[in-house]
């Protein structure tokens, strides 16, 4: 158990420096990140993240499951944005199968994905502000997050591990009153964002702790594989929702917030603006929600309705076969990427023609974003490390998988 008794992988380079171990049990590492720091006084000379404490072998587990059984596993990777992971996986499998998804299912997926983004950004904002010392924001953010989680509970019966999307559509029709409740939330949420901004954006303590801190240039961000708000905070205007659209995102009008400075404040502004844009997308999705079925017409792949199973022999047989044998997927490979709240979430699925995936690989946005941390922190003060970790919004479940 090498991790329980860690030997320092960093050795002090000079007489005046020392090695400081931060984490894995540290409140500001957002999970179980361990960081080794070589410090000279209060200045960070070198920095090395150490990960793997949450490794559960999800990629290996996926190879032993049927395609539809993988969906609940994807929730557990990035537990703050379950719907985004569900979406990315089902899109990859649908691309392998060549399935056509009805418009209503696509719009519902977009609606729920933007709610997920709001949920995830609220947790980020609350914890990031708390790391820097603004405790109140945390309570405000979790007040609104509660309503988003209630909405998730309404559609899927679960607050966090939703598993609501299925290969070929979504699991169930949303219950009565769901859309009204979402509309109500989208109505008052922008005023709540104003509240957060009143507390932080102009706050002199906040700006002193974030402006000019942990800078990263656009070239460095691209070279290190950063994506999402971490990339856009450095001035690269790239968003997969707009530039390589999926699940009918091309039908929505929204702005992609970009900041040029590349510091903690720039990344903060990007995410706060994204909260507003997500609300805009939610409203558009509600206004233009098409009518029609929520599942693709593919009897051997999509589970039949419960009512049909009581009257139709065919439906009963298909149900039995899908549950016991799964469904075969034509051989091939697919890489599907979506814009998760943290960046490019990609699923690479390889099929060998059987009912179980030959290989499922998740491209974790956080894993690449974490590599930017030494670039941001080396040569800066120790206290800024906490601000930098918060600003790249890492989720260790996604990094370690």
């Amino acid at each position: 158990m090498a991790h329980l008794n860690p030997t320092p992988v960093l050795e002090p380079g000079q007489d005046r420096t020392m090695i400081l171990n931060m984490g894995p049990q540290h409140p500001s590492t957002h999970g179980v990140l361990r960081v080794l720091l070589e410090i000279d006084g209060e200045t960070v000379v070198r920095m090395m993240p150490d990960i793997g404490f949450l490794h559960t072998g999800i990629e290996k587990t996926c190879e032993a499951k049927f395609y539809q059984q993988v969906v609940p596993l994807t929730d557990r990777i990035d537990y703050l944005c379950p719907m985004t992971n569900n979406l990315c996986y089902v899109l990859a499998v649908e691309k392998l199968l060549g399935l056509e998804i009805p418009p209503k299912a696509q719009w519902l997926r977009v609606l729920l994905n933007e709610l997920t983004r709001i949920n995830s950004h609220l947790v980020w904002l609350g914890t990031h502000a708390m790391d820097i010392g603004a405790l109140t924001v945390f309570l405000y953010c979790f007040r609104e997050r509660e309503e988003v989680l209630n909405l998730f509970e309404m559609v899927s019966g679960q607050r966090m591990m939703t598993s609501y999307f299925r290969v070929g559509g979504i699991a169930l029709e949303p219950p009565l009153g769901f859309f009204d409740r979402v509309r109500n939330f989208a109505g008052y949420f922008p005023s709540k964002i104003d509240e957060y901004e009143n507390l932080l954006t102009g706050n002199p303590i906040w700006t002193m702790r974030t402006k000019g801190v942990a800078r990263m240039t656009a070239e460095d961000a691209i070279a290190l594989g950063a994506s999402g708000p971490t990339l856009r905070g450095s001035g690269v205007d790239f968003d997969l929702r707009r530039d390589i659209p999926y699940s009918s995102y091309e039908k929505f009008q929204f702005k992609v917030p970009v900041s040029q400075e590349g510091d903690v404040f720039a990344r903060y502004m990007c995410r706060v603006q994204e909260l507003r844009e997500s609300t805009v997308i939610v409203r558009q999705a509600l206004d233009g929600m098409p009518e029609g079925p929520i599942k693709a017409d593919a009897p051997g792949i999509v589970l039949p309705d419960r009512e049909k199973m009581k009257t139709q022999m065919e439906a009963l047989i298909y149900h039995f076969k899908i549950i016991t044998e799964g469904f075969a997927v034509p051989p091939g490979e697919v890489y599907q990427a979506v814009e998760s709240p943290r960046g490019e979430m990609g699923y690479y699925v390889v099929s060998d023609g059987t009912a179980k995936p030959y290989r499922v690989h998740m491209r974790a946005a956080c894993l690449a974003n974490l590599q930017t941390l030494p670039k941001m922190c080396e040569g800066r003060l120790l206290a800024d490390v906490v601000a930098a970790i918060g600003s790249i919004d890492i989720v260790l479940g996604e990094i370690d998988r």
Binding site: G52, E63, G98, Y335, A337, R363
Partner: protein, 165 residues
Amino acid sequence: MPLVPAINDLEQLKNHPAVARLLGWNADAVTGAKFDRDEMTIYVDQGCIREACLTLKEDPGCPFNFLSDITCVDWYPGEPRFEVIYHLLSIPQKERVRLKVRLNSDNPVVESLTPVWPGANYFEREIFDLFGVRFAGHPYLRRILMPEDWEGHPLRKDYPVEGYR
């Protein structure tokens, strides 16, 4: 979108910008190509992957400047056993391309991409950790997810799902 048959013929695909660029640079390095489900795959010779990536990165027309992902697939017991897969993205042109290198099981070594993209670091460490594929020229090739003293490489197909008991 109903499935259309994959195109495996390099002759038919030579007009695709990434294929054309690589063929123009070194035709021997490209051992095959596949266009399937709107995704372009190019098979690259084992010794040329770093230069091939550099060539695509510095393409003036369609620069594949962003390394999305590196991963690996184990085709045990077949040979060549390992496929290392690189997903490149062109941020200006919004294009993707997939490069593949095939490796035999007796000595799975491939050049590291860290001199081209420093971001390849963690991806390559992860593949080394979980598949046992080594990357020549990597600055710090050690286990990243599993404990240091772990035996075996868990994502290999001859490694049981429940682990060794």
